[in-house]
């Protein structure tokens, strides 16, 4: 593999990893801040209000 191909491959790997980490973060925010399951809602209630998420 020449240097240019290696750089392109590592840039692609970086993009894929960044997208996966961003998706993981989005999932955490969804579960902690937006799912309406009642146990989750009650536990996260004060934080949801204080962080400006739609609650109830």
């Amino acid at each position: 593999m020449n240097a240019i191909a290696r750089t392109a491959a590592s840039a692609r790997a970086g993009l894929v990893q960044a997208l996966m980490v961003a998706a993981l973060g989005l999932g955490v925010v969804m579960v902690a801040g937006h799912l309406q399951a009642s146990a989750l809602h009650d536990a996260a209630h004060d934080v949801r209000h204080a962080t400006g998420f739609p609650c109830h």
Partner: protein, 230 residues
């Protein structure tokens, strides 16, 4: 690369979540507890007798507050994962990521996830009338996405056309309008609702400034550490 992303995001997000929880306890929670007295009907405003603006809010509820710390840490860790991922992409295309530049990333994050949605859907104090929660969540996510893309275009694009698209994306959610209730039935005094919204935004700004700086700091530090180890 993946470990650098995860390590810096977890450190930055967890620390920010603890700081945000502390600020929320001091500045937001008293307003929220006060509003709940009206939500539950223990206090009623516009009655025959004037109601004191300084009621006894009770002591600390350990379980409730511990859950708030936990969820604050979770929410900001989630935000940190997205923020650091975007920082890594910006760095790969030539941007410099440090604690100092992280400050601007943090302010931009605050604008995207707190300030822009709050322009048409203010942080809700308990006991206010509101439209269907799913409709509000859909509008919230759409607004955050549109504002985030707009800010990225303003920061990184180099053409007037892209900046024009950014302006359209910034304005569109508010011109379309957020879901609002058909009638007002809120029980909480407007003084408390206004205080709650401004306190929530103030704490959000402080937390995001911390998050941006810490994310920039840990991203740079983890990069140096991994380069030294390689």
């Amino acid at each position: 690369m993946a470990s650098r992303l995860l390590t810096s995001a977890l450190f930055a997000g967890f620390c920010t979540g603890l700081i945000a929880a502390l600020l929320q306890f001091v500045f937001v929670q008293p307003v929220l507890l006060h509003a709940e007295l009206y939500e539950s009907g223990q206090l009623v405003h516009f009655g025959a007798e004037p109601v004191s603006a300084h009621p006894d809010l009770g002591g600390i509820d350990v379980m409730r507050d511990a859950l708030s710390v936990l969820f604050s840490a979770l929410v900001y860790t989630g935000y940190a994962l997205v923020l650091v991922a975007l920082m890594s992409l910006a760095e790969a295309s030539g941007a410099k990521i440090t604690a100092r530049t992280g400050l601007i990333w943090g302010i931009a994050g605050f604008v995207a996830v707190h300030f822009a949605p709050a322009i048409s859907l203010p942080p809700e104090v308990p006991g206010v009338a509101a439209a269907d929660v799913v409709a509000r969540q859909v509008w919230w996510f759409a607004t955050v996405a549109a504002t985030g893309v707009a800010l990225a275009l303003i920061a990184f694009a180099r053409s007037w056309a892209a900046w024009a698209v950014a302006v359209v994306l910034l304005l569109a959610p508010h011109l379309i309008g957020a879901p609002h209730p058909d009638s007002f039935a809120g029980t909480v005094p407007p003084e408390l609702a206004a205080m709650f919204a401004s306190r929530a935004l103030g704490v959000g700004l402080a937390a995001w400034v911390v998050l941006g700086c810490l994310a920039g700091h840990f991203w740079q530090r983890e990069g140096l550490r991994q380069n030294a180890a390689a």
